[in-house]
Every structure is written in structure tokens, then in C-alpha cells.
Amino acid sequence: MIDILHNLGLPVNMSIQGARIDDVNAIIHWLMLILFVGWGTFFIVTLVKFRASKNAKASYTGVKSHLSSLLEAAVAVIEVVILFGFAFPIWANRVTDVPASNESIHLRVVAQQFAWNIHYPGPDGKFGQTRVDLVDEQENPIGLDRASDNASDDFITINQLHVPVNNKIRIDLTSKDVIHSFALPELRVKQDAIPGMSIPLHFTATMTSEEFLKTTVGTSREGKGLEIACAQLCGLGHYRMKGFMTVHDDEGYQAWLVEQAEYLEEESGDDDDWGDDDW
Amino acid sequence: MQIPYITEERPDTGLTNSKLGIWVFLASEIMLFGGLFSAYVFLRIAAPEGDFAYWGSKLNIPMATINTLVLISSSMTMIMSWASLKMKDFEKYKMYMGLTLLFASIFLVIKYFEYTGKFHHGIYPSSSTFMGIYFTLTGLHMLHIIGGMIVMGYFWLPFGNKMWTTEPERFTNRIEIAGLYWHFVDLVWIFLFPILYLL
């Protein structure tokens, strides 16, 4: 059923949530198509049939039956079905089934002009504190307070989101400056990042990046991996506020975590200006 | 063809044009202040606990109470000036309208002292969200007062009220319309006073 939309451009879906979103999308588009074709046929038939050159005298009363009311009622009923059958449950899943920290991979994303800062809690699974006065665009973009509890093993990547496949991922989303919108088109994830608010979102990827890349073979996007897009106008760099996303298998993810932990180690080694020698 | 129903009422609606016009205008004013009141509530909820109350306590309640009374009095003199016209007593109208203008000016003077008092203490709209909304709401209300004073002043001065001799009915209607506006401004203050000063 979704094929028709895929052919119209809907990207390959690679998340559990996305499948259901695609279902609604397909159903609504079918409804739209049927209505449009139905009405359109009626429209064209009347235009031809009742043109003045053929039908010189109009009828004062016109159509007598009230079939159309039935049709309107039918549209209303279908809408009710879509709402109660799909839309509400999906939304409920989106906002009330947010997994807790301990049953998911829990990350924070702090958007800023024009980058995505991704805050990993490290092995302890707990985030350190952040403070506005510690923000330093070069060295500490989210103002992480290394001295606070749980902060020592936290690490931050810029524009690099790494997650494991088939795991519940939870992201707490916020922004430092203006409103951005965190979008992963292939996972059907989109959520505004609003300063002053921290909004949770969650998803489960069903494909690794590698598998995904195979699906793109032969298309114009061949070889281009997954990306984080910004969907809300956020200034003149909005169009290039792009992040990269990698979905690993479990081993790959663990390996990546270890690698990050090593970086952290190295950096905290020379404490006068850390990170300086790496770049 | 003339525009009908300027002085006499349209039979089926029972209204003159300007009567309906001012009420539609007031409806839009209700929504204007509605938007601001809802912003006030919104911001109050968003602000840290007790923030609004803390800044609110910096306002001067006695001055505002006097101002409330002044404004109520001006509303009363306003309606009396209309009633005087209804009784064809132009001299009384002049007196009551003059009083209304006087009360309105007193209101502005007191507000002036309130504002400058705040400025002297280094309190500006940017000092806190509460102060921001306080200055915005009262400032906008003050603009309404000034607008009303201009209109009423015009009807009070000789060149504005010479219509009384030619078309007394129409002039009386105009005063009624101006009055409706003025009472509305009063009514807004009746809500502003508790939500800004007392809560």
C-alpha cells in the first residue's frame, strides 16, 4: 500500500515507529486519492455533459437526491477511524511511552546555530550538570561541568550521532539559542528543539547504516549515509545545519564507545588546554 | 442616496451604525487585552515560583487605589455628561465633560509619578518579566486613556461641539459612543488593578 508513496519519494523507512507513521500516511493518501478521483470524474463528466452548447436550458432545481450528505458523512467516519485507530495511538506511543533511562540508550542533544551537540552519559549512564557560564564555543559547547557528579565520563560529539541498531534510543532534546528541529527523515523522527525546554523523543532503528547504504545503490543518493537535518528556520546557516548519523550493530557500537572513552582519557591527560593537540 | 441609520435606528436591528460600530471595535479591544492577559498568565506560569509576586510587591498599591477611584469617578462623570445632554442641559454637559477630562489628567499625572518612581529605583521593563508586562499593559492602557482624552477634548471644545446646535440628537449619540469607549477603558483597568498590583 505504501509503494505508491515510496515511488513518490518517501524514503526507505528504518525504524519501528516509522512503519506505523507510514501506514497512516498511506491510508490518508488513499483516502485523498479516492476522493479526488471520484470528484474529479464527476467534475469532468458534468463539464462535458452540461456545456451550454449542448444543454441550452439549465434546470432550476438541479440534483434532487441528497446522496452527497451520505458521502460527507462517510468522509467524517473515515476521519474518525484514522484518528482513533491510528493517530491517537501513535501519538500516545510518542509522548507517553518514552522509555526510562535504564531501559534505553539515553542521550542528550543540544542544538545550536548551526550544529548538533550530542551529549553521551558515558559508562555510568548518568549525565553531568551543564551550566551556562561554562559554555565555551570551542572547548565546551554545552557548558558541561566536569566537576559535577557523573560528569567525568561524559563525552560530547559534534554533529556525530552514533546509536546501536534494535535498541530503544531516547534523546532529550533542547537548544542553546533559537528553535531548531531535529529531523531524521529515514527514521520518521522529527521534533522541535526549543530553548528553555527539554523534550524527550525516542525511536528504535531497524537497520544499520551499512544495510541502509545497500538500499541506496543505484539511486542518486548512493553512498550517502544517514543525516540529521534541521527542519526549522534557524538563521542563515539553517540550510547547512547537517549532522551525521551512524547506526551500528551492537559490537560496532561498543567499539565506538570504547574509542570515545579513550579520546576522553587522552584529552584529560594534559589539563592546561585539553583537546588542543588532537586537532 | 444618503447613508441611512446615522441618527435614527434601523428598525430590525434597533441600532444606529455607530452604536454597532463601537461595539465591534470594543469586541476587538477585548481580544487585544485578551491576548495580553493570556500572555500574562502564560508568563506567570512559566516564571519561577514567586517571581511575579516578588516583583509585584514593588508596586505602589495606595497610588493605584487612588487611581482606580479616579478612573471610576471619571466613568461616572462621563455618563452624567451624556445624561445631561439627554436632559438638554448643555451647561451641565460642559461641566461633567470637563470633570471627566480632569479626572483623566489626574490619572495620567499619578501614573507619571508611579513610572518615574520606578525609574528612580532603577526599575525598567527589562528588570523582570513581571515589570515588562506591567509596563506593557499599563502603557497600552495609558495610550487608550490618551486616545479617549483627545476625542473627549474635541467634543468639549467649542469647535467640536458646535454640532449640538445643529444636530443635537447626533451629538448626543456621539457622546454616548465616546462614553462606551471610556467605560471600556475603565473596565480594563478594573482587571489590571488586581492582577498587577494585588496578586
Binding site: N25, A92, K176, E227 | M1, A39, A46
Partner: protein, 569 residues
């Protein structure tokens, strides 16, 4: 007012500072067409950049800087101003200011608007607002660049927004004055015998629209004042605590909320979109009845439908905000109201369709535009449904799908209806008919190219391409598959521009050389056609009109001609 038409008026009084609703209507019309044209030009520059990113813009490149390449900040300015100009300076003034002003008093048999001086004030307030908006391009700060929605905090940090806000205050004032006037005029100045259900549908459309403007615009005015305070008095109504902007903590009190703006903005802007469509539907209704030579089918349900539409439009605004973190209860509420509001639109559209059955359809130019409105609005409206369902909006929000959705309703929808109105009422305004041949030359290419621009947007939107992208999606991987459409759409847009040339010529040629026609060239029933063309200054009709029947009494059985005007016994 002193409307004794005997005393001589000089040129200024007669054509510039006139208080005659017809002159004001025409002033509105000319000004708003120029703004539409200007908004169109801005968009063409944008479309050039989208099709050929970072290549110098031909002809006017010199205006954009040395290289002639459109820079991102200018792209954002053009985008914001295209939206603002098209909506607030183009379509609303044309639909409400021009048609509302010119036609409503005539259709209800009134000598003028209820408050002629306010009417003039409304026009001049609009004019000043427009000048401020245009002037903002030449200010050192430049024009607004945070979208027509002006979401804070961006709009507070970016330059150029102050002029936008001040301009908006003038435009809002203008709309308020204008719509107060329309409400009072319709309630008070209906000719004897013209009961509510004898009003042409166009008047109903204007009536509901006027209510939307009067009640929905003030909250935006409030919001504009608050944003102005944030910008000039350093308050922080829309700025939360703890912001860091370009590397430094923002020095304000904080504790505000960016969402407050969104709520107040959409509280206006959703009703606003029905402001764009209701007058258009009104025009379409009138034109269809006239050219089918039969009454509108289900007139009453159309009227109730539009009243209900107006009412509901106040309680759906948050469907623009599903992704701001809305919880279950609220999103369910707004999804439900959004679905409910689609029903009256379906009813109105269905009635229009059914009106065609049994008709004797004349394919005049206004009728062609009105007919094209139906499926085009159909596409636009139907694509509103997946946006109104939260689940599918997750994928479609802020993509080109949204752009496609609303352009279908406003461009081949409203703009076409307004074209229909211009062709239809031109004879009333000038006493001459517009050329049918040029009209058709205008219609067919416009129809084709409109679809050429906007259909591919759905494809791009489904692929997930965000809107407001300076490079049209070049830098994003997921856009690669649909990028080829950009050039196609842009070329269609340039062709659409070319397709407006016959229209332009038609207006000027017909004004002076068009076929002279009598009072009622379309053999119509509504009251405006019983006035001379153009109607008499300051009084419209020779005598007080009286009304004896409903608005669309065409082909009444037993009547001697196929139309029975409302003013004839």
C-alpha cells in the same frame, strides 16, 4: 458625512483622498496587485537560487551584491517578505480591501460603506504599513529574515525585525478598521427586503471573514507589541533563561517562553488562512451561479458551512505546533478539531460541484478561473489532511509538502478566484468588458504552470526536504533523489510569470478599448448589476433599491428570461 454630490471635488479629493468606497476599493486593488507582483518577483529570485544554487542571478544580480549571487541572509529576507507581502499586503487587501469594499455595498444595495472616513483611514494605514515593509529592504538592517512566522528567539536576535513589527501594527490596524466597517455595513445597510438568506454568498464570505479579522487579529497585535518590547526595551517575554547566542550568554532577565509567541501567532494565523479562502469561495460561488444559469445547490448549507468554518477556525491553531512537544490531550484535541474543520470545506466544495449538474455552463474567462479553483483547492485542502493528523505530520512538518499544501490553496486557489473576480466585475468598474481571447491566453498557461510549480513540491516533501533551505536541499543526502525537480519548478515559475503578461495587457487595453457593455453584461441577478457601470459617485444607485427574491434566481420555471434579478418584482 457631507456627501452631497453637487459640490465640486478637485482631483485630489476625487481620486486620492476620496471617501467613496469605489475609489478606495480601486486604490486597494491597484496597490495590492502591485504588491502581489512584487512578492512574485521576490519569489522568482528565490526560485533562481533554488534551481541554480550560487550562480549569479541574471538581470538583477547587480542589486544583490558584487558577485550577483544571492546570499543566504538575503534569501531568508526574501522568503520572509514573500510570505508577508503575499498574505498581508497582497491577497488580504485584494480580497477584503478591494473586492469587499467595492462589491459589498453594491451587492447589498447601499450607497456607501457605513463609515466612509474610517474606510479611507483603513486604506492609508495599509499604505503606510506597506511602505514601511518595502522600506525595510533599504534600511541598513535589512528586511525581516526569520520567516513570515517570526518565531522568537530567532526573530529577536536577527536584525530587520523591528520594521516588520511596526509595519504589522499598521496593517493590523488597517484590517481592523476595514472589517469593522464591513460588519456594520452588512448588518445595517442592507436594502429593504434583503434578508439574511437573500444575501449573495460573496457577502456571506466577507461577513464571516470580517469577524475573523476583528477577533483574531488583536491577539497578534498584542504579540507584536510584546515582541517589539523584547527588541527595543530588552524585556524577555519570549526568551527563556540560560540562552547562549553566538558564544555569549544572552543578557536578559529570562524566564519567558518562545511558545507564547507561537500560540499567539497561530491564534491569528490559522483564522487568517480562512480569511484568504472565504472571500475567494464567495467569488467562486457567485461566478458559478451566474455561469451555470442555475441557483447554487444547497445555498443554505454553504452559508452554514462557512459560518461554522469561521467559528471552528479559532480552535485549531495548534495544528501548526504539533512538534513543539505537545502532549496527548492537547494533540488529540487539535487533531480532532482539524478533522472537524475539514468537513464544512468538503460540504461547500461538494455543493459547488453539484451545482454544475443540470446546468447550462458558459465557459467565460471568469468561469474558467472559478472552475479551476475547485480541483486546485481540492488538492490543497486534501493535502491538509495528512498535515492535520499528528502522526503523519511528524514526517511532513516543515517540509515542502506544507509549502505545496498551502500554495495549492492560496495560489491556484485564492489567486485564481481573485482573477475570476477581476474578470467578472471589471465591467462594473469600468463599463467595459475584458478581452475573452487574452483572458483565455492568461488562463490556460497559468493553470498548467501553477501545477508545474506546486505538484513536485509534494514529492520533495514526502522525501523529507525541509522548507526554507537556501540551497534547495543540495547539501542533504535524502534530498538527492528529488533535486532534479527544483529546476523544473523554477522554470515553471518563470513561465508562470510570462503567462501574466496577457493579463497585464488585457487590463490596460480593455480599460480604454474594451468592448463597451451595459449595466448587466453577464445577465446576472445580484443587485450590483442594477447600478450604472461604473456606479454613481457617492450614491451608487439612482434610486433606493428594493429586493424581492433570493440571490441566484436563474432559470426560474415560467419566467420569461433565464435570470430574475433580485431588484425586479
Amino acid at each position: 458625512m457631507s456627501n452631497d454630490s453637487h459640490h465640486e471635488e478637485n482631483f485630489l479629493q476625487k481620486y486620492i483622498f476620496s471617501v467613496d468606497h469605489k475609489i478606495i476599493g480601486i486604490q486597494y486593488g491597484i496597490t495590492s496587485l502591485m504588491f502581489l507582483f512584487f512578492g512574485f518577483c521576490l519569489m522568482m529570485v528565490m526560485r533562481w537560487q533554488l534551481a541554480y544554487p550560487e550562480t549569479p542571478v541574471p538581470y538583477i544580480g547587480g542589486l544583490l551584491g558584487e558577485t550577483g549571487i544571492l546570499m543566504p541572509e538575503i534569501y531568508n529576507m526574501l522568503g520572509a517578505m514573500h510570505g508577508t507581502i503575499m498574505i498581508f499586503l497582497g491577497v488580504v487587501p485584494l480580497a477584503v480591501g478591494a473586492f469587499g469594499n467595492y462589491i459589498v455595498p453594491l451587492q447589498i444595495g447601499a450607497p456607501d460603506m457605513a463609515f466612509p472616513k474610517l474606510n479611507a483611514a483603513s486604506y492609508w494605514s495599509y499604505f503606510i504599513g506597506g511602505v514601511i515593509m518595502l522600506a525595510s529592504f533599504f534600511l541598513p538592517e535589512g528586511a525581516a529574515r526569520s520567516g513570515w512566522t517570526s518565531y522568537p528567539p530567532l526573530s529577536i536576535f536577527e536584525t530587520g525585525q523591528t520594521a516588520w513589527l511596526i509595519g504589522m501594527v499598521f496593517l493590523i490596524t488597517s484590517s481592523l478598521l476595514g472589517s469593522m466597517n464591513i460588519i456594520v455595513t452588512i448588518v445595517q445597510l442592507r436594502a429593504p427586503g434583503l434578508t439574511w438568506f437573500r444575501l449573495p454568498f460573496f457577502v456571506w464570505g466577507q461577513f464571516v471573514t470580517a469577524f475573523l479579522l476583528v477577533l483574531a487579529f488583536p491577539p497578534l497585535e498584542a504579540a507584536a507589541v510584546l515582541q517589539l518590547m523584547d527588541r527595543v526595551a530588552q524585556t524577555s517575554f519570549f526568551l527563556p533563561s540560560g540562552l547562549v547566542y553566538s558564544g555569549a550568554a544572552v543578557d536578559v532577565y529570562g524566564s519567558g517562553s518562545p511558545l507564547l509567541w507561537q500560540h499567539l501567532f497561530w491564534f491569528l494565523a490559522h483564522p487568517e488562512v480562512y480569511v484568504l479562502i472565504l472571500p475567494a469561495m464567495g467569488i467562486v460561488g457567485d461566478v458559478i451561479a451566474n455561469n451555470t444559469r442555475k441557483p447554487l445547490w444547497g445555498y443554505k448549507s454553504i452559508v452554514y458551512g462557512s459560518v461554522f468554518l469561521g467559528f471552528m477556525s479559532f480552535i485549531v491553531w495548534a495544528h501548526h505546533m504539533f512538534l513543539t512537544g505537545m502532549g496527548q490531550a492537547m494533540s488529540s484535541f487539535f487533531q480532532t478539531t482539524t478533522m472537524i474543520i475539514s468537513i464544512p470545506s468538503v460540504i461547500i466544495l461538494t455543493s459547488f460541484f453539484i451545482s454544475l449538474w443540470g446546468a447550462s455552463i458558459r465557459f467565460t474567462t471568469p468561469m474558467l478561473f472559478a472552475l479551476a479553483f475547485l480541483p486546485m483547492f481540492g488538492i490543497g485542502g486534501l493535502t491538509g489532511l495528512p498535515l492535520g493528523v499528528g502522526a503523519s505530520d511528524i514526517h511532513l512538518h516543515d517540509t515542502y509538502y506544507v509549502i505545496g499544501h498551502f500554495h495549492y490553496v492560496v495560489a491556484p486557489g485564492t489567486i485564481f478566484a481573485l482573477f475570476a473576480g477581476i474578470y467578472y466585475w471589471f465591467p462594473k468598474m469600468t463599463g467595459r468588458k475584458m478581452s475573452e481571447a487574452l483572458g483565455k491566453l492568461h488562463f490556460w498557461p497559468s493553470l498548467i504552470f501553477m501545477n508545474g510549480i506546486f505538484l513536485p513540491m509534494f514529492i520533495q516533501g514526502l522525501a523529507g526536504v525541509s522548507r526554507r533551505l537556501y540551497d534547495g536541499g543540495q547539501s542533504y543526502a535524502h534530498a538527492q533523489d528529488v533535486l532534479q525537480w527544483n529546476e523544473f519548478m523554477s522554470i515553471s515559475a518563470f513561465c508562470l510569470a510570462a503567462a501574466q503578461i496577457p493579463f497585464f495587457i488585457n487590463i490596460f487595453v480593455s480599460m480604454f478599448n474594451g468592448e463597451k457593455v451595459g449595466r448587466n453584461p453577464w445577465q446576472s441577478t445580484t443587485i450590483e448589476w442594477s447600478a450604472p457601470s461604473p456606479p454613481l459617485p457617492h450614491r451608487n444607485f439612482e434610486n433606493q433599491v428594493e429586493v424581492y427574491r433570493g440571490p441566484y434566481e436563474y432559470s426560474v420555471p415560467g419566467a420569461d428570461k433565464d435570470f430574475s434579478p433580485q431588484t425586479e418584482k
